[in-house]
Each structure stands twice: as structure tokens, then as C-alpha cells.
Amino acid sequence: MSNPALPTEAVVLNRIQETEDIFTLQLQLTDPSQQWRLGIQPGQFNMLYRYGVGEIPISFKAISEDDQGHPVLEHTIRAVGRVSRSLAELLPGDRIGLRGPFGQGWPLEQAENRDLCVITGGLGCAPAVSIIEHAFANRTSYGHIHIIQGVKHSADLLWRSRYEFWAQQPNTTVLMAADVAAPGWPWYSGRVTELIKRLPLKPDKTLVCCCGPEPMMQASAEQLIRQHVPAESIWLSMERNMQCATGHCGHCQFGSDFICHDGPVIPYPRLCGRLGLEGV
């Protein structure tokens, strides 16, 4: 039996600096017999280990292929603390440890042939990027794509070029909101929920993927429900401290859910009683 606590070696093929503190690592497992680990879905995550420093959960972003047709994993990471900053220093050829995939991803089967509404808030919401990328990669499977991104301050918006690129795609709406906007902010200033109100949603034909700070996700879900989107069609990606990712360490508990294996993506009805409770 394989030990779920034990990392596998991966090599950094490429490192792309997305913004000042966001970077993407393209990784490949060095042991081909471990390729099973690559059956990974958007919304799931891996534990990335930097030698001598530690391990952190990072959502899977995309999978591609190298020249020889070997799979390449992409992870987009924001350098915030000890481990993520040290991952930021990796160069092509460097080795890291990888465990995964873990958790429940976005409900892609359910999304097929429906509109996709991706609502994100806060800084660099990587888990949701994976689904957007996935949707564009399989564009015909989905209807309209709505993308809403909210930030506290307009200066916090990262990856502007990416949003602008998406905005130019057919059948796609991109809306931005900043709670506080500096002069020159071309988009909306105010709350994300206000933008949701403006969306021409087809409630029964839409699947919502939401990721961001919990109060924002809660307010968005409530607004969507007011707009008659069924609660079961709203999926949230949750975040808690995570040490083991195998449902043992107890840190990621959110009420009775272990975010690492019951989540991180969880349907709203399962969460709604607990979201917003202080200290849960």
C-alpha cells in the first residue's frame, strides 16, 4: 500500500512569473510509474514540498503535454509566507516533492452544456482559474461564461491582462468590482453582489463556481439564490489550514467537513448553515 504521507519527486520544467508575487510552476513527475497521480481535476489540489522548508496545499491549475507527450502539471502560486516564498525561488531543473491529487474538484460533469458563472474575490484566486482555463480549453462543452472578480481595493487587482484576454472571448462576460476604486478604474466600484444583480443569468442552466473570502462567497450565494439560482448549483471552494491533506490532522475541519477530502469544493447547501458562523 502506498503511503499517502510520502511525497514523490517532481522536477520544475518551467517557471512563469505572472505578476510581482504570483508565479506558475510547470512540473513533471520524475518517476513515470507515478503518472497515475496526474488524473487530477480542476479544483483538486496537490501538496507541494520544498526541500528543508515544508509543504503547502496548492490547487491544480492545468495539465498540458511536453514535446514527448508527457503530462505537465501547472500550479499557480502566490508568494505569501515561508513555503510559498521559497517555492518562488525555484528554477527550471530544481526538484520538489509532490503529493496528491487530493479533494473534490469542481463538478465538471454537472457543468456540461450549461452556463458557467465563476465568481472570485480577493487576491489571486488560483483555484477558480483552473476551471476558467479548463472551460476555455473545452469551450464547446459549455454555454456562456460569466466571470466576476471582486477586490477590496482597485490596486489589488492582479492579472489584469488575463481578465482582459478573457473579456475578448466570444460568449464571455467579464465583470470587475472594487470596494474602493482609485481614479481611472474602468470597472465597477462597489460590491460583487451588485455585479451579480446585473448578470443575465439563466438560473436553471447555470452552474456557479465561487471562490474567495467566506463573507463574499456567502453574500454571493445569497444573492444568486435571490436571483433564483438553485442552491445545489452553487459550489464554493473552501480554505482552511492544512497539514496532512489526508483527513487526519484535523486542521481543515469546517464543522463536520474535512476540507481536504470533503472539499475543497463543496456545494452550497452543505455549507449554508455554517458559513458566517464566527470561529467555525
Binding site: P4, L6, E55, G97, R240, C249, G250, S256, E278, G279
Partner: protein
Amino acid sequence: MSAADFLPRSSLSSLIDLLQQQGYRVVGPQVIDGAILYRPLQQADQLPAGIEQIQQPGQYRLIRTQGPRLFSWANGPQALKPLTFAPRETLWRSHLQADGSLRFEEVIETTEPTAVLGVRGCDLAALSLQDQHFSGDPYYQQRRDSLLLIAVDCSHPADTCFCASTGDGPDARAGYDLALVELDDGYRIRAGSPKGQSLMDNLPLDAATPEQQQQTDEQHQKACQQQRHLPAFEPSRLIHQGQHPIWDSLAEACLSCGNCTSVCPSCFCFSESEVPELDGTTSGHQRQWDSCFSEGHSYIHGHRFRPDTKSRYRQWLTHKFGSWVEQYGRSGCTGCGRCISWCPVGIDPLEALTELGREDVE
């Protein structure tokens, strides 16, 4: 039917000898630093003869009596947890090779077969909770598989015990290989597994006398009369009772020290850390007991979900008695009373539950 099931006290050593002959390391209760601890046991005279105890909120004292019994106490600060879920262990090591590649080395230390003598019903129940939780964890499993469990039905519950009301004691109900009832002059034994049965077959047993049978029943009846009871409350509501004033008074009283979680036989939280060695080419990855009372437990970058004692206490109580039911089909509490005795300020969570339960009635 009155099968031979009685082992005179003078023959208890034959059980220990038998275990040792069969290659078990025997671990049993002993008096150390004023408490009952499970430690490696060579012979029967290391067992806590005549020791009784007083347990009160925030207080634990042993009393020496002249009595002949070896198990006339309720429990010590730890159940079986340290034997299966190590307080600190290295999970794996990574080696940086000369060519820059990394090699991961699994570190699972094999445990020799270990027979634990003197296990309580509440602790067996808690062990089965941990079995559920740690399923798929090779570190836990490896140690767990090495255990042979010899229970002793509890005849002297402490004032802090309430296993009768959780349904997990005072007698050992399931999960043991052998179970003993301690009487004035010896032990009545029953087997709970084929391994236990074969041990039993090799012991010099007599048939119990009618008096011994009667003592067994009376003793059991008496042990069931406990001071404390799990109050009535609605587990699924606990998490929604965040506005209840009880949390404020608990926060006033609580040290946030995490002792309740550390002594609880079912608590399972741990944290992981990296311990690089000085040679620069090896690094160990460790885990150690953590607690929902620690700052790191609810930390994510830039935010702590539970920054204060109030929210941490609430997490402990609502998880143990509430969410646990949803997670594992029953409450996480088996009534051992340790969290009451070993709280340095003597908080009794049952009082809080009583208060919270009252709200349900209203």
C-alpha cells in the same frame, strides 16, 4: 454454564509470563510521579497495588490503601492514545542527492507486539474512534496492529467519570482480546477474540464460585452509579449556539492550554513540521500532537479563524460533542472524564453542555 474463568490473584503473574513467552512486550499501569501511567511492565508486583484515587475538576490524587486490588482506580492522564498515535514522530526524510535530485525515505518504525494490561472500557471505545479516524494512516495502523488488549472492567470509577451515560463503560464492551473483572481474590476472565481465547486456554483457571459471581454483579451495579452523566443536548445544534452567553464565561475561565485535548483519548489533531539536519543534505518531516486550542490550528496566511480562547473552546466542545456525530456516527466522547480532571483550572464541559441543552428545551 459455569466454565472455568477464574484466575486467582496469585496467578496473575502467569498471565504476564504467558504474554512474555509469546513474545509480547507487556505494558501495564504503574504509579509514576503521582499518577497511573502505562509503562513497560516486567512483573506483577509493579502494578499499583492498593492504589485508589480522587479525581475532581482540576485535581487528581492517588491514595494508598492496604487493599489487595491492583486495578482499584479509574484511569490515568493518558489512555492508549500515545501507544498508537505517537506524540511526536518522523514521517519521512528527504535526501538531497549530489545531482540535485530528491529521494524520499519513508520512516515507519516497526513496533514489537505489545500487550497492554488494564485497559478501560471508555478507552477501548475511544480507540475504536481513533481506528475510524486514522484509517489509511500507515503510522497509526502499524502500531495499532501490534496491540493485544487486556481490559479490566472498571470497579472504581472516579467522580469525574460518566462512561455509563455515554454507553462506553464501566465494563469493557468490545475491542478487547481478553477482559478481566477484578474481585477481592482474583480475576474473572472472558475472551473477546480468538487470540484472547487461546491465551485463556493456557491459563490455570478455576470455575468461579457463586459468591464470586455475585460479587461480579454487585460490583458492576455499583460502578454504574456514577456522579456525572452526559446531559441532554442536541448535537447538531451546538455549532449554531455561538451566541450563548456560556462561551463568554468559559473564555474567562479557560487557559487555552489544550490539556483537555491532549488527555482526551479520541482527540486526533496534529501538526507537521520540517526539521532539516545540519549536514545540509537531509531533512526530516515530523508530526506532533496539536490542539484546537493552539494558534496554529486555525491559522491561514494573514488570518486566524479562531484568534481567541472563546472561539477555541467552542471549537473543542462543538466538535467533540457535535460535529463528531456527523463525522463518525457518534459523539467523540466516551465518558472517561480526563478533560475534567486534567484541566488545570477545573472546567467541566458537562456543565457547559447542560447549559446549552437547556436552550434546546426552551
